[in-house]
Symmetry: C2
Subunit: 352 residues, 2 copies
Amino acid sequence: MANESNTPKRTDVNTLGEFGLIDHLTQRFPLHHRSSVKGIGDDAAVIDHQGAFTVVSTDMLVEGIHFDLMYTPLKHLGYKAVVVNLSDIYAMNAIPQQIMVSVALSNRYSVEAMEELYEGIRTACSVYNVDLIGGDTTSSPKGLVISVTAIGKGHKERLTYRNTAKVGDLICITGNLGAAYMGLQILEREKQIYLSDPELQPTLEGHDYLLERQLKPEARKDMIEAFAKADLVPTAMIDISDGLGSELFHIAKQSGVGVLLEESGVPIHEDAQFQAIDFNMDPITVALSGGEDYELLFTVDPKDLDKVKYMADIYIAGEIVPAEDGVKLNSKGGKLHDITAQGWKHFDPSKN
Amino acid sequence: MANESNTPKRTDVNTLGEFGLIDHLTQRFPLHHRSSVKGIGDDAAVIDHQGAFTVVSTDMLVEGIHFDLMYTPLKHLGYKAVVVNLSDIYAMNAIPQQIMVSVALSNRYSVEAMEELYEGIRTACSVYNVDLIGGDTTSSPKGLVISVTAIGKGHKERLTYRNTAKVGDLICITGNLGAAYMGLQILEREKQIYLSDPELQPTLEGHDYLLERQLKPEARKDMIEAFAKADLVPTAMIDISDGLGSELFHIAKQSGVGVLLEESGVPIHEDAQFQAIDFNMDPITVALSGGEDYELLFTVDPKDLDKVKYMADIYIAGEIVPAEDGVKLNSKGGKLHDITAQGWKHFDPSKN
């Protein structure tokens, strides 16, 4: 009988990591259609439909890996599953209009549980003005898997890729970073306390902002609208889903440039600052490797400085430098540190 | 802590079935964008991109539900995962051009196993001339989940929906039905024999055709090309993935019509006929409820009879009748039987 265990050589997927594995598996997939403008390697793919540019992105969320139903209400999960995909479309400077949602669920889930999930999906559709146009619902032997595909509309001249940052460009960040990660740490701490003694009630009070950033993140639709209003086209853009460090490396690698990031320019909410210190963590490290912020990291030509300077909720945090200068952080103490790409840490060898 | 078990009312998902659950969950999702031409309820969704019609479909395959790696080579699985999605695009009379593939996998899978899976995906891309343009790779606590989204191009006037069959139209079927299901029965039988005594070698010889139909199905790209060549636009079309009975019910329900199916017109390969009898099954029942044929069921206006009459591999198997006449089979013995909609039987209450 056929089984992958027949394969003589066995390389653990962890040896490659997420990006390594994707690169490895997809390297021999040439694009044949002229309509396939952008394939693998950006926030979303781009298809040219006779001049209309369609932007498509897909993400899969797996129970026990991306979410823990111990502390994630299903309504929030449905909302977040949509938002993380829309964020990828916005990161192309495009407007999402449609989504498809596929769900695999075990018999553990009731119709009412699924209604909650779809209530969250419906709310996201309404808030972000997107239509649910399709999907697939199937059973799974265990757990819940949600796969969302978002489809958006873009203008050829205004789409923003990862590989187009230029030396001298300013590095900009929207909102603030690290809060979602600190929210996750609080939820994990309370879960452990609860598991050790179910009599103990979780103490989540006073952490509203951090918890909301983790459980109900928003995508920066408002920024894309502000860019259009200001007639600003970033030279490159990516959404911050895996932590600022990882995203800076994507831009640097794909654009063939280096990065000089100013610690003093990286926006971190004071709740995240305090919480990080409470957890004995360095706030800038949390911002660099935390993940799930769904803010935007983008670069602008210095000639556009006046356009971003007075835009609300945008922070200038550094400069694109030549590739040979590396990807570095200028700390508040004035020292240069190498930034390390973190990124995907979902593959947990303890799980199978 | 939040958990779906807090919900007081608990309705088992099996009470609704696949189509019932989808209908129930998606009923309050109005379409807002003019570009959302067709939402949930057909083989694929249709988006109007300034005149260019984009057709999008997505499917999720879950280990232990849709495939069994005991007898499914990963290369075939990758191929099949793509083909079943392309089949949905062809069923709209459109041409797939791009796919996105998301994979969730546990640590049980090696890089080599994933290479095999992607080798099958690559082969399908090459055979069907589609580009892999994106996706997501993530880990899962257990098992393998594959989600494929296919994107195609269609012409507004030539797209074929499920809700446009008219009384008097001829019912046509491509290829033959039931073979994939009989292939599955053979594989399941040999698996049970193997599990009861691993010393026994499976006897799969002589069943090449049935096994190939199950393990490596093809989508009817050739038919869509033949339609274009003959300037034929079916009045309605659907791919046969859940069994002919289920698909006839979709057409009947959505078009508001009835069906008179002639048993003598339903194409069944002689290998499937013999195998059905060997398994003590009725061949026409296998064709009606077997599933996974990925053939096309379509209806044509009688004025187009001459166009289909001489087309290779197309069989005229009945007529669209008024809704009040029901969905019926005229057996070879000349008796009328009600056809029952089978369809999705994946939810297995024994699993959790």
